[in-house]
Symmetry: D2
Subunit: 349 residues, 4 copies
């Protein structure tokens, strides 16, 4: 064994590693995500959700009937991207999911059903399609379906990030359901349009408004699109007390696409999960073409180029890790470019 | 002349003054405003507005047809309080008021008429009763009445403060009317309910939203009152990008009173001007009873105690200097107290 | 009496005023301060201070032995400018000034003497020439001279502003001297050079550091000047927890001038009071030439042009209202210009 | 195959995963870090550094001669904890390391040697034992040893976090050394003690001060300890323009221990790497006893309990991920507890 080999062996034996042999592997020129651009078809997801409703009870320990998007590039982890958890939750008629809280923050975006509510720290938030409900970090929450039909919604969490930061706490509530303080309370104090209660206060890092109704989002999208001349407009859901993102770790957006107008191509640091709320269309991600329709979900990894074209009026809900990256000074985006050339076609399962 | 007299004379001759002879006069235990609690009746104000419309043209130099509230305690100054300007502006059918800008910031709260608009930096903001329009510091603005009936609105400015700070700048626009960029543009980008355009940006210290519609304010008041159990709820108009007051120097609020329920008595540092938008009622200010009805305006000086009782459903618009005092660490309020004993009756003119 | 005269009389009778007759008087093109540029000679001030020491006791009610700069443009008010109070305080050997607190905030800049201290909320802050001591809004403070020689320092307060805002509160301490918690305590927690105690906390709007030593200021001036090539460098005293001005309403600066190099001419919104700590030189303010030496003080009103030239190495301490104007979005400065032509010579008294 | 097995197979085939089978594994009650408490002895590290100096050239590609702490709990990754990179860099006499920049931010804490400097965006920052030099995210930097003796310093980076966020960018400088603008420039503008240049500006999320001298840190430690009565005092290195942590993603602290006084036991979310700058002592981490001396480094994983006892006056430099966790609302600490019982002894290699 040569001197260098001996040296490397001695280094390893002392729980050290040389940097110089792996510098550019650790720090490539640009982000090279292990995550793959990927799409999940609604029909398949929905059918598995229904089957799970018949086969799997909702119990303490498991806590929720949820199927998570497992990005094939991430070696079997149940994560849609290295920083984001995306999943579909199924709550059968009259069912409920037990109360708990955790340090990962979550959002719920309603796809199907009506008459359910999520109770967040005692405030029952009604859920209808297109509504966004926040269950921020360490807030007690449980879900109830008060209707005779199933509910399905999209769950978005910052869980992969909170796991990576060794910062996960979890606590089951002593009762299956927490006591109610009222219904849609956060709307009264914080739901105004550029007005707020003089008595409104918040010391938390997340939005005190917990329920963002689709009819408001729709009105804002329409106002924004009117006369803009753009193929695409995007809204962010914000904390009305600060104007910053509703959650500190995760962004929520809604994008409206004008049919038959292809957008410019964008690249940003950080990943996104898109959920098609309405419409049909095509997105090209790093040269691969993804066709989508209502209920489909797809992932855009960090620094992947993406452009969209709707085939009919379309609204895409999405979550991302941008607020976190911005708070850390790590966010970056490339200048918008030409739509991409298609080099491959994604084959959904 | 004794030694001390000589000394005081020598001090004065050198443009100096002893503190010790006036310490407690300069710094009393609590604020003792020179401003008096006062009320102006709408009928009288409105009749003078109409007469001014016949007698006085709107011209460069005078710029506006405005009657300002002149607090009798302020020695002839045209100010409602030491920090606030309150006034009524009259714009006849098809009239317009020329474009200019100034460092004092202003708000317009519409009392009567429809079909007028204020153009702010090229954005024509429609004005109907109950609407609030901002013309923030150093923004170009002109007013136009496109209807065949007169318009009257309340003008609130921080002008006394900006004068006291030696910070007034004024510039007439080269044209009578500035060019239009569009109509109600600020609403599209910034008017959403806890959503905002992803592209929204603001570098200014004031709200980028310039128009706050009465129907939105009304909906927020109703939501806030619902189930609150309180005799009074108060909204603040905020900058949707930051959650702070719409203007940095002046606050705008709307208070809804429940009939026949007297409120607790409040005292705060800083003055307020109230404009009765709707309803009838009574306010007691430092022991004096003020009766008011729609269109009336009244002043509450700094540190004066005030409580209200509506005789029918009532909405009070108000401006104050609270954001300024808060930014400087000078805001204070006393704990809410019992309603005051009435010791005098205000006799309006 | 014509129709218009009757109208104006009716307007006045109802405590209203027309705007159009006074628009441009209220809002001129640029700030036109009533304050005059003015200078007070140290020799005269010092001599009066000494005489006051013999003639006037320090008692409750008067509280302090202080001579304030009374700007001849301000109609007899004891203020150096519309927003700033500047004064000289004289504390004889072994004397003390009783404890009190007030909402106006103050700074003390030591001119002469050694061995005195100001106790601020129980923290005894030692005072030597060139030191800056803060007694922020509503902090208890008293002064003690532990030496056998008199002390003279400059007092700067935001009092005119706090009076204009109807926000003055005052409270005498129940005892002549407040109890001591320790000596120069604030230095230990907050006096580090870009380090701070991990346990450091502040909820107040002012700096938790109360004592800024001349030796530190001197070292910073020297470092800043080194190799800068400029005729003038200026330091701001900041709150080490936030990097913003030490007090929210009032700025403190120290300016070092290089001899025989005239500076550019500056104009800013807001006034300043300068106190010459060291050196001799000349300042030109709106065309008038002011000669100054150590201990002299002079006022630069809002929007007045000013340039300086030192005749020997000179350090000028100053206070201003810039932090307040910046927080309100009202600060502005003109681009630096050529040194001014001298049109007049100031004749000190 | 039963119905449930078929279901799980179908779920997996569609790149989905059930949550309910792994809920509590993903979200345990408290953080359970994979990282182990671990310690590296200076003698061993130093000797390997010296051998590397003889065996390994510094070249483009490898870029630096660095040995990184590889936590045995992290499956072979070259990271000290899941969020922190810690390493020792060796620069031989007259050697230099080429200029590059990367989005991970770094700090350098000097252990041994004198006469080297790190150039950061053109500013040559001198390095002596105990000095801290920042090379913040995306700043050009290169290192030079101008002396005839080797230099060794500790490198701390947020690299594991930036990798986990898919946010790594890297760029070699076109030249081996970047052009110099000057020497210790950042000190002149930003190095004052609670004063700053009036012209100071910063738009970046990191400190504009790049060099924190040991003599200043030492003075602050001494001041802080004086009369504190505590067995331990801790300083944070801050951005002088904002008072927040010097880098947005990573904290730097210096802790001084009083000999023979055991500290209370602390637990916090997030990991730390300690480097012993001076002294000898013992730390107990989650029940295991670690003995340390000057130059040793050790890791405290997230939510591990830790207490210290110095055997002689000791100063511990440390980095952590607390600023990141605080910005995201994820920081938490347990109330300080009794010193821990020792259950095991760490055997260093």
């Amino acid at each position: 064994m040569g001197e260098l080999e001996t040296f490397y062996a001695d280094v390893a034996a002392l729980d050290l590693q040389p940097l110089w042999t792996q510098t550019r592997n650790l720090m490539p020129d640009e982000p090279r995500s292990a995550a793959k651009p990927w799409l999940w078809k609604w029909q398949a997801v929905r059918s598995l959700c229904e089957r799970s409703g018949k086969l799997v009870p909702i119990e303490r320990g498991g806590e929720r009937r949820v199927l998570s998007l497992s990005n094939p590039g991430l070696g079997g982890l149940p994560f849609a991207s290295p920083t984001l958890w995306g999943a579909f939750q199924y709550l059968g008629p009259r069912e409920s999911a037990p109360a708990h809280r955790h340090s990962p923050g979550a959002i719920r975006f309603v796809i199907e059903g009506q008459g359910a509510w999520t109770t967040v720290d005692g405030d029952a938030c009604d859920m209808s399609p297109g509504d966004l409900v926040l269950t921020p970090s360490w807030c007690w929450h449980d879900h109830k379906n008060g209707s005779d039909r199933p509910m399905i919604w999209f769950d978005g969490l910052d869980m992969p990030t909170v796991i990576a930061l060794d910062a996960v706490f979890f606590e089951p509530h002593p009762e299956a359901s927490q006591p109610l303080r009222g219904r849609n309370l956060s709307e009264r104090l914080y739901g105004g349009r550029a007005t707020r209660a003089a008595a409104a206060r918040s010391e938390s890092p997340h939005s005190p408004l917990l329920l963002y109704r689709w009819r408001d989002t729709e009105a804002s999208l329409a106002a924004l699109l009117e006369g803009s001349g753009e193929p695409m407009v995007t809204l962010r859901y914000v904390n009305p007390l600060t104007g910053t993102s509703a959650l500190p770790t995760m962004g929520c957006e809604m994008t409206r696409l004008v049919p038959r107008r292809r957008t410019r191509s964008l690249r940003k640091v950080g990943s996104s999960i898109y959920v098609v709320f309405r419409g049909r269309g095509i997105s090209v991600i790093d040269g691969t073409r993804f066709e989508w329709g209502a209920g489909d979900s797809f992932v855009v990894p960090s620094w992947a180029a993406v452009d969209h074209e709707a085939l009919e009026p379309a609204d895409l809900f999405s979550i991302d890790d941008r607020p976190l990256l911005e708070r850390l000074g790590l966010f970056r985006e490339a200048p918008p470019g030409e739509p991409q050339q298609v080099r491959a076609e994604f084959q959904p399962r």
